[in-house]
């Protein structure tokens, strides 16, 4: 920018003084040529040359033009020819000089004002362009930042749901034996009943009533097996969370079935006390099932070392404050000490050798994402109770 300005100034120095000489020479030529037909046109042409020079070349070049034209006029047009002057021509000549100086001054003043305005305008334009560019850059940066943030948010969301899925699968992994048992059990029922059916039909006098009853039970067993598989599939599936009004009691019953063999293995009896008038809650069924399964498996594990009292897990549901649904999972396990209690919901805190330590934090985050609360109480050596509250669908709408 500065460089361009300097080179322009150099160029214009030649142009300015050249124009002074050029215009004055042109005025002289024209005046000499037209003297015969127009009296004395020098009085018009020279001021015009000064004006033109000043306009193009500025004040100093104009001054040069004034000087040159004064000399030319004095030499050629004020008789006698040469650098002498008649006394009576002196006033005219002086007026001429003053006029030329005035013209130079006024024009150069106008010219400078105009230049200043133009320069200011150019500068303003440059500034505006600069500011616009800056704003554009800032905008771009902001947009990038927003995109970045959105991507991070999405990644976080994805990671969270992936983690939830992993924990769900881990929970399932912990109950793999349970699942195998869960599928094997109805299959065993199918085999036993089908065998019985064949046996009744193979008698010398086939007993059709018994055969039919056995066949019916075989069908029931097969249906149960397929239900178990469908349930496991729905648990493992990577589905986006979807919320719908659901009944909690059937979810709890399914959870009990899923945990049944784990309970059997540990000789734990599961009891349910479910409020039949429980209102629906708006929630993601699979996520809630995950929470329940997690609490139930935790409860069963907590009772592994208990020998002096019955190992019992109680799951209760009831309505609280007329529009909330309360679910509690109570065990008669070893309980949780005060120190562990305060860290119970911290990620990666676990008391189990194979525990991941994510079950409870994720359970809590799921319940909280549903606008509910999950908390625990425990008496050391007596057992623990985990409870959560969710708003019923009706309350949520109102």
């Amino acid at each position: 920018m500065e460089l361009a300005r300097t080179s322009r100034r150099k160029l214009s120095a030649i142009l300015r003084y050249g124009s002074a000489v050029g215009f004055v020479a042109a005025a002289l030529c024209l005046s000499l040529a037209l003297r015969a037909s127009f009296g004395n046109p020098a009085w018009f042409f020279f001021p015009a040359a000064v004006i033109a020079t000043t306009w193009i070349g500025g004040r100093v070049a104009g001054g040069v033009a004034v000087l040159l034209s004064t000399l030319a006029v004095q030499y050629y047009f004020i008789p006698p020819v040469g650098f002498r002057i008649n006394e009576h021509d002196l006033p005219y000549f002086l007026v001429f000089i003053v006029c030329e100086v005035l013209a130079n001054w006024i024009i150069s003043w106008r010219k400078e004002a105009e230049d200043a305005i133009r320069e200011a305008r150019d500068l303003l334009e440059v500034r505006v362009a600069e500011r616009t560019a800056e704003l554009k850059d800032a905008n771009e940066a902001l947009r990038n930042q927003m995109d970045e943030q959105r991507r991070t948010q999405e990644a976080l969301q994805l990671a969270r749901s992936e983690l939830a899925r992993v924990v769900r699968i881990t929970t399932i992994g912990e109950t793999t034996a349970s699942i195998a048992h869960e599928v094997n059990q109805p299959l065993a029922a199918v085999v036993a009943n089908a065998d019985a059916c064949v046996a009744w039909l193979s008698l010398n006098e086939p007993n059709l009533a018994e055969a039919r009853a056995a066949a019916d039970r075989a069908v029931q067993g097969a249906t149960r097996a397929s239900e178990v598989i469908a349930r496991i599939r729905s648990m493992i599936n990577k589905k986006p969370p979807e919320r719908a009004p659901i009944q909690l009691n059937p979810v709890i019953e399914e959870t009990c079935i899923l945990a049944a063999s784990q309970a059997e293995k540990n000789s734990v009896a599961i009891f349910t006390e479910l409020d039949p008038n429980l209102p629906c809650v708006t929630a993601d069924r699979i996520q809630l099932q995950q929470v329940l399964l997690n609490l139930v498996i935790n409860g069963i594990d907590a009772m592994a070392g208990v020998t002096d009292r019955p190992r019992e897990l109680r799951i209760r549901t009831r309505v609280q404050d007329s529009h909330d649904v309360l679910v509690s999972v109570e065990d008669t396990g070893i309980g949780v000490n005060a120190e562990s209690m305060s860290r119970l919901f911290e990620p990666f805190f676990t008391t189990r050798a194979q525990g991941v330590g994510m079950g409870l934090p994720i359970s809590r985050s799921i319940i909280e994402a549903h606008g509910g609360r999950l908390w625990a109480e425990s008496i050391l050596g007596r057992g623990s109770i985990f409870q959560f509250v969710l708003q019923s669908s009706e309350a949520g709408q109102g």
Binding site: N193, E210, A218, E264
Partner: protein, 207 residues
């Protein structure tokens, strides 16, 4: 006395399985009683007949293995066939050590199960016969007077009448009379028979 028909108790918490197994067993003409838990079995009135248990290992409340231990410590000897979805070796070994007849995995092959049931009932039938015999011997031996018991012990130890009389400080004739009473009361038809019965009784007491 005519022997009662054999009874098989099927204990499984899964209704479909226990009904299926019960039906299968009834189809071969045996009586079968289906029960949902160990506790139900302990409360149920047991029929006095050759019987066996078809017992699920994993059950809520009391497990099958726990029931086996409980029955053993209560002196109730009833052959047990275990069925389980998943059997590990230590579990199987323990169950067999504690007197299980068979350890079958679910789904159970019907022929295996029925063979095991037959075997278990046969075993129980023999055990019952044994126990009945033993009880009869015990009853007869109980009717002996203290003096007769003394004579019996010495006879079985291989002493001659004369030596016995010496030891007890009585006459040989008196010993002979006691000896005849012992033979009569115990129903022994020879000395060898008497010795066998006494041995049987002693072994059972040692147990």
């Amino acid at each position: 006395m005519k022997e009662q028909d054999a009874v098989v108790y099927v204990i499984d918490d899964d209704a479909l399985i226990r009904d299926g197994i019960q039906s299968l067993i009834r189809s071969i003409g045996l009586q079968a009683v289906a029960l949902g838990s160990a506790a139900e079995f302990m409360q149920a009135k047991r029929i006095d007949a050759p019987s066996c248990l078809v017992l699920d290992v994993r059950m809520p409340g009391q497990s099958g293995l726990e029931l086996q231990r409980q029955l053993n410590s209560a002196g109730i000897y009833i052959p047990i066939i275990f069925i389980t979805g998943h059997a590990d070796i230590p579990m199987t070994v323990q169950a067999m050590k504690d007197g299980a007849v068979e350890f079958l995995t679910k789904p159970v092959r019907s022929q295996e199960l029925l063979d095991a049931v037959q075997k278990a009932i046969e075993r129980d039938r023999e055990q019952r016969k044994e126990r009945a015999e033993l009880n009869a011997i015990r009853r007869r031996f109980k009717s002996l007077t203290p003096r007769e018991t003394e004579v019996l012990n010495l006879v079985v130890a291989g002493l001659l009448n004369k030596q016995i009389a010496d030891q007890l400080g009585t006459s040989e004739v008196t010993v002979k009379t006691h000896r005849a009473r012992v033979m009569e009361k115990t129903g022994a038809d020879s000395l060898a028979h008497l010795v066998r019965m006494t041995e049987k009784l002693r072994t059972s007491l040692q147990k």
